[in-house]
């Protein structure tokens, strides 16, 4: 990136790899996020989204490759890069014994926002996420949706221009989820801000500018949602054969249309004419059949051969469970 001419892109990721023991969490991932873009990383749990985000926010080093925040290398200039970033982690990182305002104030102090500006930003951000009435409540008493809103507010106290959100709506009810997105939309209207979100809720990325689909540490596709649907979507037939003979027969006959297998089901590329032909031909061989219209879900199926899957919980679950049970006054 040449200095002085066009400003460096908000985020640039260049052939990043990262290994944890035997698993390759990221395998040569590259992409660039444009200025003021609403960019989504979509993939199942364990795809490497969070690892990538941790590298972008400088808490994790890549094994190889380079990540740049406005041209600042996250490994060599982490402190400068962090000033530009506003981060909302997947798991709450608030101090739940402090009040809402105290949490924001602490963040401002830690990021070196001077006193008067800090107070003004806190009031603005509380108003934006509609928590003004809760300013002096202990964070512990907030619902999880409110906590997430507070964290979004917090990420913006230091006038960050790049907002990184890791699964901002995970674990929230539909109403809270919609609210989070509406705040993000409003923010993009009011401030010069670039947003990168990770999510495994496919329906949430429809409104993004571009979607980057990742799985098993690799980028599978990167484009606007509409374009993705056009190129990879296509109509699909999801068929569950009656028995093994039927399965073999169908697979043999339509090998050229095979898109993947998900559990019992077989996925075939399809169009309206094909549906009729298929039914006439193999109607007796199937237990059930679903026509899947083009959506990001089918894009994902096409690209990975699998539906978005869920995964089990992490390591230190025992300690956390203890803490959540009420744990210990040391907390």
């Amino acid at each position: 990136m040449a200095e002085g001419t066009a400003p460096a892109p908000p985020i640039r990721v260049d052939a990043i790899s990262r290994r944890f023991g035997r698993t390759l969490a990221l395998d040569g991932v590259s992409f660039e996020v444009r200025d003021r873009e609403f960019f989504a990383l979509l993939g199942p749990n364990g795809a490497g989204k969070t690892t990538l985000l941790h590298i972008l926010c400088t808490v994790l080093r890549p094994d190889s490759g380079q990540a740049l925040i406005r041209g600042l290398d996250v490994v060599r200039q982490p402190l400068a890069a962090r000033r530009l970033l506003g981060i909302v982690f997947q798991e709450a990182s608030l101090d739940d014994r402090l009040t809402v305002r105290e949490n924001l104030d602490l963040h401002g102090l830690v990021f070196g926002v001077p006193g008067a500006l800090r107070r003004r930003r806190i009031d603005e951000m509380l108003a934006l996420v509609e928590l003004t009435a809760w300013a002096d409540r202990t964070t512990r008493t907030l619902s999880s949706g409110m906590k997430r809103r507070l964290e979004i507010a917090r990420a913006l106290i230091h006038d960050s221009e790049i907002l990184l959100l890791d699964e901002p709506t995970a674990g929230l009810d539909a109403q809270s989820r919609e609210r989070i997105w509406s705040y993000i939309r409003r923010l993009r209207g009011e401030r010069h801000i670039t947003v990168l979100v990770t999510t495994h809720y496919i329906e949430e990325v429809e409104g993004c500018d571009r979607v980057c689909i990742v799985d098993r540490g690799r980028v599978l596709a990167l484009d606007a949602p509409e374009t993705l649907k056009r190129t990879h979507g296509g109509q699909m037939l999801r068929i569950v054969p009656r028995g093994d003979d039927d399965r073999r027969a169908i697979l043999g006959r339509f090998a050229d249309r095979l898109k993947g297998e998900a559990g019992d089901a077989i996925l075939l590329a399809s169009d309206d004419a094909f549906v009729e032909a298929f039914l006439a031909d193999c109607g007796r061989r199937i237990r059930s059949m679903t026509v899947e219209i083009p959506s990001l879900e089918t894009v994902f199926l096409t690209l990975t051969g699998r539906a978005l899957r869920d995964q089990s919980a992490g390591e230190s679950e025992r300690t956390r469970a203890f803490g959540r049970r009420g744990g210990e006054h040391t907390r």
């Binding site: 402190l79 962090r82 105290e102 006038d159 401030r191 010069h192 500018d209 040391t330």
Partner: protein, 285 residues
């Protein structure tokens, strides 16, 4: 999704000098520790009840038995009562509990994500650690000072000079112990309670630090080993806390079993070494 024409980029946050950012952050983290401690009822109850139990109940109860008499023959005379003797040790005990307890909250910071928020801030790791240690030590000193309030019941006369000196020693002790707590906390992956610490670290250190019984001051080293079993004397002599408590005792009741400078030296060295270890752990994590 197309956004409306945005207002031009906000006035950027005025760039504070890096030193000022670190200091501001340090203050913020320190303030957080203090606020949390004040809101922690359990810790406060412990801070009040511990000295009352040790000084008023145990101290007063054992006071009459603290005589060096064997079959009517005085073996040695100590120029203070048991209550006076144990008083400085209870100050140390209160500091010890609170320091370790504050340090253990590192585990919760780590597991519940707060640590991450700080680690992606422009603060250096050493600032973050120092904020934690200073905050924990401040709270520990406050709890230690609670014991000083009981001084009159223990017949320990306090002057402003004594209090100032005692606070100095207490600060060194609190800093060293908080660092110790953090070093331990960094090495713990699964944590299910503070009780383990109090039983495995705090109480053993306390009981073998010549806190609740003196190594007979009138006896020579060889004689001491006749009165007390060898292993116990060895434990006491190898326990660094012995020397810290001894220094504090020298300040508060003017009685020393060892050279008071030894205690200061041990606390300073232990504090620096433990803080360094904690910092190295922290950088690696």
């Amino acid at each position: 999704m197309t956004a409306a024409a945005p207002t031009p980029s906000l006035a950027p946050v005025s760039r504070r000098s890096p030193v000022l950012v670190q200091l501001g952050g340090l203050y913020g983290l320190w303030l957080r520790e203090v606020k949390r401690a004040v809101r922690d009822r359990g810790q406060l109850v412990g801070g009040f009840s511990r000295p009352i139990l040790w000084v008023l109940i145990l101290g007063i109860g054992l006071n009459p038995y603290f005589r060096g008499e064997v079959y009517g023959e005085v073996t040695f005379v100590v120029p203070f009562t048991y209550l006076q003797f144990i008083f400085p040790a209870v100050v140390a005990l209160n500091i010890m509990y609170t320091s370790v307890q504050s340090a253990i909250s590192v585990i919760w910071d780590r597991e519940f994500g707060f640590l991450r928020e700080v680690l992606v801030s422009p603060l250096s790791r050493s600032t973050v650690l120092l904020g934690k240690v200073l905050g924990g030590a401040t709270v520990a000193m406050a709890h230690g000072s609670l014991v000083l309030v009981l001084a009159r019941f223990a017949d320990v006369p306090l002057t402003w000079g004594t209090v100032a000196k005692a606070l100095g020693v207490m600060a060194m002790l609190a800093l060293a112990l908080t660092s110790l707590g953090i070093v331990i906390a960094n090495r713990i992956r699964s944590f299910e309670g503070f009780g383990v610490f109090s039983n495995a670290v705090i109480l053993p250190l306390y009981f073998t630090s010549s806190s609740i019984f003196p190594l007979d001051p009138a006896l020579t080293r060889a004689q001491t080993r006749v009165v007390y079993p060898d292993w116990l004397v060895t434990l006491v002599e190898y326990n660094p806390l012995t020397y810290a408590v001894d220094t504090l005792r020298g300040v508060l009741i003017h009685y020393n079993q060892f050279d008071p400078r030894l205690g200061l030296l041990i606390m300073a060295v232990a504090g620096i070494v433990l803080f360094t270890i904690a910092l190295l752990d922290f950088r690696r994590a």
